[in-house]
Chain length 207, copies 2
């Protein structure tokens, strides 16, 4: 692209570093900002800088937080002995929005992926093992993505804490609620037949 | 969405003000920035602020520029007597990238659109009329979008300069190069039959 201004080119270059934003989209966004009052760009820049400079990770669960201990970890109404292991904070937000979980979280910050060069040491796994060993944990729930990497990570953690007297569970996998059977992928459908549950159980816990 | 951090929420809110970026995408972008070195966010913010604070519009053609007169207007090799009228700077970039135009531009900054409350006075139309009246303009090329608003704007400008001894042209409309006829929309195809041109003309100017 021929830019008539170096400033414009710089802004578009920086904007197109963001994932999923190509040069054309970046240009559209930047020109949009140029058409708005300068205060909008100032607010956007300020909020991003404030975030990266001021963000704190909860020292207990590694969730993004405004204080040393996040709202969930410091909430005495939540069951601190049930820990849900998730990849990142978006998963915390997703589970929180269901309103179905009253325990606490542990954010790994990713999953083990040799291809992307992510090993156990790049993740918050050690602090999880320590937590499980030292404090009064009754259940560990694996809520990672249902992918090879997710399964590998689950298994790695499982091996580290095998033998401890805690429940280790994983979130249920199967046909999505509301899904037509014919449109469900084969692997999911196959597994959900093998892992079928007593019908009584399926109606018991629905609130 | 339940945000665990006010800083995060602010950043997502500001990011989602951009066109085509919803809350979820904004969250993804912001979390991406959080995972990068802080310097990337600093560079992004700095480039946006530099742009909105330092941007100059060329005093002649209203194109975005780093100096008072843009590179195109100050280029003595370009034919200053042929002016191509466009909506915004993206159109300048699009036409420049064809390498087929050696005149100069005039950026209107939009098109007349009563629905969006844009009248002639919000656009750079007066300066165009002045330019046409005062300097040595031989041709004015309308290169606005082929929409109702574009046509209205063309017509409005045409009415202001009707009678002056200059060529007023508009870019050719018709079937796109490389397009299959059967997939061309009816209006375009219909017009391109009515406005058919001698075959000799169609092969003359192809370089």
């Amino acid at each position: 692209m021929n830019f008539s201004s170096k400033l414009l080119e710089n802004a578009v270059d920086e904007m197109s570093q963001l994932p999923g934003i190509g040069k054309r989209t970046a240009l559209r966004l930047v020109l949009f900002l140029l058409n708005q009052p300068n205060s909008q760009t100032v607010k956007l820049s300020r909020s991003l800088l404030d975030l990266v400079e001021g963000v704190i990770l909860c020292k207990n669960c590694h969730n993004i937080s405004d204080s040393e201990l996040c709202e969930i970890c410091s909430n005495i109404k939540r069951n601190q002995s049930i820990i849900c292991v998730v990849e990142d904070i978006r998963d915390v937000m997703a589970i929180e929005s269901t309103g179905q979980f009253n325990g606490v979280y542990h954010v790994l910050g990713g999953k083990i992926s040799p291809i992307e060069g992510v090993g156990p040491n790049q993740l918050n796994i050690n602090s999880l093992i320590e937590k499980v060993n030292s404090s009064d944990v009754s259940e560990l729930i694996f809520a990672l993505s249902a992918t090879m990497e997710g399964d590998t990570t689950n298994f790695y953690i499982y091996k580290q804490i095998e033998g401890l007297k805690i429940n280790i569970t994983t979130i249920a996998r199967g046909v999505s609620v509301g899904n037509e059977l014919e449109f469900t992928d084969e692997v999911t459908l196959g597994r959900s037949i093998i892992k079928r549950i007593p019908f009584e159980n399926s109606i018991k816990n629905i609130s």
